[in-house]
């Protein structure tokens, strides 16, 4: 069965600092990969997705993620964090073909200090 691991429950950074959120997956074949963000009291918003091609994916709000097949990882990065980036971040994987049902990680809570 596919699984997603986000090893960091909380990450604290200072505003303006760089950010990297880790995501590892376990799956037989390379799945579709996603990062979603959830602000308090809100649903999930898609930041970026990887389907194929260039392994460095650009998303909204200045985020990017890099797919590394050898490490089964899809880490999310941002060069300079803004206070408004404080939120919960979820990595998700979905099987190629078929019903395309994503499995989500447990999330990483990002805290931004001024």
């Amino acid at each position: 069965a596919q699984s997603v691991t986000q090893p960091d429950i909380h990450i604290t950074v200072s505003e303006g600092a760089s950010l990297e959120l880790r995501c590892n997956y376990s799956y037989g074949a390379t799945p579709y990969l996603f990062w979603y963000v959830q602000s308090p009291g809100q649903g999930l918003q898609l930041l970026l997705k990887y389907f194929s091609g260039d392994t460095l994916v650009q998303g909204i709000k200045g985020f990017e993620a890099e797919f590394k097949r050898s490490q089964s990882s899809f880490n999310l990065r941002k060069p300079s964090v803004h206070w408004s980036d404080a939120a919960e971040y979820f990595c998700a994987v979905a099987p190629r073909g078929g019903s395309y049902i994503p499995t989500f990680g447990r999330g990483t809570s990002l805290i931004v200090h001024p």
């Binding site: 579709y32 999930l44 049902i101």
Partner: protein, 116 residues
């Protein structure tokens, strides 16, 4: 362009009661998925509906049931509520992936269900 809308936003029920949650998908979407998100956890897949039929189901008991209407809107019903059913219930819509659409899920803001 209206996104995914869910109602109600909050709900308080008593153990043993039944609840119905509603979802209208994003315009143009025909597939609806429901997720349960417990506090501090990621969303867990409940089921997916397409063409008014349950297409796939996650590891949830039969107390959880759903329906999709001809206009693609959907309902989630939970019977015999337990304290452990307290969670944020998220609805997500997409285009039918089996038609070759690689459309990611678009989520609503959820319904916060509290069971006392």
């Amino acid at each position: 362009d209206a996104g995914v809308t869910q109602s109600p936003t909050h709900l308080i029920k008593t153990r043993g009661q039944q609840v119905t949650l509603r979802c209208s998908p994003k315009s143009g979407h025909d597939t609806v998925s429901w997720y349960q998100q417990a506090l501090g956890q990621g969303p867990q897949f409940i089921f997916q509906y397409y063409e008014e039929e349950e297409r796939q189901r996650g590891n949830f008991p039969d107390r959880f049931s759903g329906h999709q209407f001809p206009n693609y809107s959907s309902e989630l019903n939970v019977n015999a509520l337990l304290l452990g059913d307290s969670a944020l219930y998220l609805c997500a819509s997409s285009l039918d992936p089996r038609q070759g659409y690689n459309s990611p899920l678009h989520f609503g803001n959820g319904t916060r269900l509290t069971v006392t």
